[in-house]
C-alpha cells in the first residue's frame, strides 16, 4: 500500500525534491521560455520582445508551412505503415519461435537500435548511393539478363544507368523505416507473445486459414500492442531531423529541418518557437488519440 506523504514528510521531501526541481529547472523552464518566445517578435539581431502577438502562429499556418507539416505527417505515416507491414510478420515469427531462437532474434532486432543513429544513417548512404551495393547488384542483374538475352538472339539491354536512390522522399522513408523498425517490432512481439494461443489453434481447427486467423483473431487480440507500436513509431518519425537532413533532397524537408533553420541560419527564434510548439501539439494529439482508442478497447474487453 502506498504511504501518504504526510506520514514521512522529511523522507518525502528528500526523495521528491531533487527530481522535481531538476525537471522544473532544466526541462519545463526551457520549454516555457520557448513557449513565451513563440508569442514574441524579433526587434533587433539578438533582442526579442514578448509582445503577445499571434503573428508567428499565423505565419506557421501559411500554405508553405502547412504543406511541410502535411508532408511530415505523410512521410511519418508512410514510415509507420511500412514498419507495420514488415514488422508484423517478423514479430509473429519471433513470438512463435523456439525459446532459444527467440532470444537470439530479439537480440538481433535490438542491436541496431543501440547503435548510433548517425552511424546507421551513414551506413545506409554507403549502400544506397549510385556507387553502392544496391546499384552494384542491379547492374550485375542487368548485365547478366542482357548477356542471356543476347545469347538467345535478342537485342541486349544497353548500358546500365545507376538508379538515384538517395536525396529524395523515398530515401527519407527508407531511412526512417531502417531506423524505426525495432520500435515497431518490440511492442508487437510483446503483445503477440502474451496472447492466448489456444484461440488461434481453435480458429485453425475450425477450418479458418492462416490469413483469416491472423486477421480475425490475432489482430483484434493484439490490438493494444499494435496501437502502441504505431504510436511509438509515428512520434519520433514525425519529429525526425537527421534522416531527412542527410538522406533527403531539397524538397524532402520535414518540419524539424525547418525549425532547425529558424534557430541556426535564419535566426528567427520566435517563428521557430511557434513551429516547435505546433509540432509538440501534434505529438500530444497523437498520444491523446491513442489513449482514447486504448480506453475504448479496454471498455469493450471488460
Amino acid at each position: 500500500m502506498e504511504q501518504t506523504w504526510k506520514q514521512a514528510k522529511t523522507a518525502f521531501a528528500a526523495i521528491s525534491l531533487p527530481p522535481i526541481l531538476w525537471l522544473i529547472l532544466f526541462f519545463l523552464a526551457p520549454l516555457a521560455v520557448i513557449w513565451a518566445y513563440s508569442f514574441g517578435e524579433n526587434t533587433g539581431p539578438i533582442t526579442i520582445d514578448f509582445t503577445g502577438t499571434f503573428a508567428n502562429y499565423a505565419r506557421a499556418l501559411e500554405p508553405l508551412y502547412l504543406d511541410i507539416f502535411w508532408k511530415s505527417i505523410v512521410i511519418a505515416g508512410a514510415t509507420t505503415i511500412l514498419c507495420l507491414i514488415i514488422g508484423f510478420p517478423v514479430a509473429l515469427a519471433i513470438a512463435f519461435a523456439s525459446p532459444k531462437m527467440k532470444a537470439w532474434l530479439l537480440l538481433l532486432i535490438m542491436l541496431p537500435f543501440w547503435t548510433n543513429l548517425l552511424i546507421r544513417t551513414f551506413a545506409l548512404i554507403a549502400v544506397l548511393r549510385e556507387q553502392g551495393y544496391v546499384n552494384f547488384t542491379l547492374e550485375w542483374l542487368w548485365n547478366n539478363t542482357s548477356g542471356i538475352m543476347s545469347l538467345m538472339g535478342m537485342q541486349p539491354l544497353g548500358e546500365f544507368e545507376p538508379m538515384t536512390l538517395l536525396y529524395n522522399n523515398t530515401a527519407v522513408i527508407v531511412g526512417l523505416v531502417y531506423v524505426h523498425l525495432p520500435f515497431m517490432v518490440l511492442p508487437l512481439y510483446s503483445a503477440l507473445d502474451r496472447m492466448d494461443r489456444s484461440l488461434m489453434e481453435a480458429s485453425l481447427d475450425l477450418g479458418a486459414g492462416h490469413l483469416r486467423t491472423i486477421w480475425s483473431v490475432v489482430v483484434p487480440l493484439a490490438g493494444p500492442g499494435i496501437a502502441s507500436g504505431i504510436l511509438i513509431t509515428f512520434i519520433p518519425a514525425l519529429g525526425s531531423y537527421l534522416t531527412p537532413d542527410l538522406l533527403g533532397g531539397t524538397d524532402s524537408q520535414m518540419i524539424a529541418n525547418v525549425i532547425e533553420r529558424q534557430f541556426k541560419r535564419a535566426n528567427d527564434w520566435p517563428f521557430g518557437a511557434a513551429l516547435s510548439f505546433l509540432l509538440m501539439y501534434l505529438t500530444v494529439i497523437a498520444i491523446f488519440v491513442q489513449s482514447m482508442l486504448q480506453r475504448s478497447s479496454d471498455r469493450r474487453a471488460a
Partner: protein
C-alpha cells in the same frame, strides 16, 4: 502444444510423409514465407552496418571497391586529435549523465512508487514528458535556455565546459531510468520495509540496506540505458554544443558534410563495438536477474 493440435485433427487424406517432421500449425518460424521475411529484414538491418565495418579495413580511399586489408584508418582516426577529443568528450558526458540520471531517476521512481500525494498524476505526466517530447523541440529549448536564461560560462577548463551538454542529457535520460527502476520496484514486498522499520532501522538505513539492494538490477539496467542514450544523442547535443565542446556524433556529422574517408568508418566501428559490448553486459545482467527471480 502445437503438435498436439495437429494430432487431434484426422488428416483428410494420407499425405506423403515428409523426411523432416512437418512444422506444427503455429510454428511460424518454420514456414518459408516467414523465414524469408525475417531473413530479408535482418539483411536490411545488418547489410549497411557490416559494409561500413568491413570497409574500415579497406586500403582504398574511396570506399567503393575492396582493394586490400589495412588498419591504417584506425591509426589515422586515433591520431586525429579533434576526433579523439570528441570521442573523449562523448564518453565523459555519458559518464556524468549516467551518475546523475541514476540518482535522480531512482529518487523519482521511489517517490512515485512509495507515496500518495496531491498532484501525483501531474508529476507522473511531467516525468513522462521528456520521453515523448520531440527531440528537436527539446534541442531548441536547451539552445535558448543556455543562450539567454542561464548562459554557461565560457572558457572553463575541461570537463566543466561540457556542463551545459551534461545537464541537457540528464534531463532527457533520467525519466527513462525512472521508468526502468519503477518497473523493478513493482516486485518489491513492502512488508520487508515495514519489518526493517519495526526492528528499529531508521528511514535512511531502510532505504539503503533494504530498498537499494532490491533496486540494484534496475539501477544497472537504467545506468546502461542512460549511458547509451547519452552516447547516441545527436540532435539535442547539436543545439547545445559550442565550438570547443564537440561530441563524437557532432564531429562525425561535420566530417560527413565535408569529406567521407574510411576514417569515419573506423571511428564508427569502434563506437559500434563499444555499444555492443555494453549491451551484451546489460542483457547478461538482466538474464541473471530473471533467473534469480525464477529460482
Amino acid at each position: 502444444m502445437a503438435d498436439e493440435a495437429l494430432t487431434t485433427i484426422p488428416a483428410p487424406k494420407p499425405a506423403k510423409r515428409a523426411p523432416k517432421e512437418k512444422p506444427g500449425p503455429l510454428e511460424y518460424m518454420r514456414q518459408w514465407p516467414l523465414q524469408a521475411i525475417v531473413a530479408g529484414t535482418l539483411l536490411f538491418l545488418y547489410l549497411p552496418l557490416i559494409t561500413l565495418m568491413v570497409f574500415s579495413f579497406n586500403t582504398s580511399r574511396r570506399n567503393i571497391v575492396w582493394q586490400g586489408f589495412t588498419t591504417d584508418w584506425y591509426v589515422k582516426a586515433f591520431n586525429n586529435e579533434s576526433l579523439l577529443q570528441a570521442f573523449i568528450n562523448s564518453l565523459t558526458i555519458a559518464f556524468f549523465c549516467t551518475i546523475f540520471s541514476v540518482v535522480l531517476g531512482a529518487l523519482a521512481a521511489v517517490m512515485l512508487w512509495r507515496f500518495r500525494f496531491p498532484g501525483k498524476t501531474v508529476v507522473e505526466g511531467g516525468m513522462a514528458l521528456p520521453i515523448v517530447v520531440p527531440e528537436i523541440c527539446m534541442g531548441v529549448a536547451m539552445l535558448v535556455f543556455f543562450a539567454r536564461v542561464m548562459p554557461w560560462p565560457q572558457g572553463l577548463a575541461w570537463p566543466f565546459n561540457l556542463g551545459a551538454i551534461i545537464i541537457a542529457h540528464i534531463s532527457f535520460a533520467f525519466p527513462f531510468v525512472a521508468t526502468v527502476v519503477r518497473a523493478r520496484l513493482a516486485s518489491f514486498n513492502r512488508e520487508l520495509e515495514e519489518a526493517a522499520k519495526d526492528l528499529g532501522a531508521s528511514e535512511w538505513r531502510t532505504f539503503w540496506d533494504v530498498l537499494v539492494p532490491h533496486m540494484q538490477p534496475g539501477l544497472i539496467a537504467g545506468a546502461l540505458l542512460a549511458f547509451t542514450l547519452s552516447l547516441d544523442d545527436f540532435v539535442i547535443t547539436f543545439f547545445t554544443a559550442g565550438p570547443d565542446t564537440i561530441t563524437f556524433p557532432v564531429k562525425v556529422y561535420s566530417m560527413l558534410r565535408f569529406s567521407v574517408t574510411p576514417e569515419v568508418n573506423a571511428a564508427s566501428t569502434v563506437l559500434i563495438v563499444v555499444t555492443v559490448i555494453l549491451t551484451a553486459v546489460g542483457l547478461q545482467m538482466q538474464n541473471k536477474d530473471a533467473t534469480e527471480k525464477k529460482a
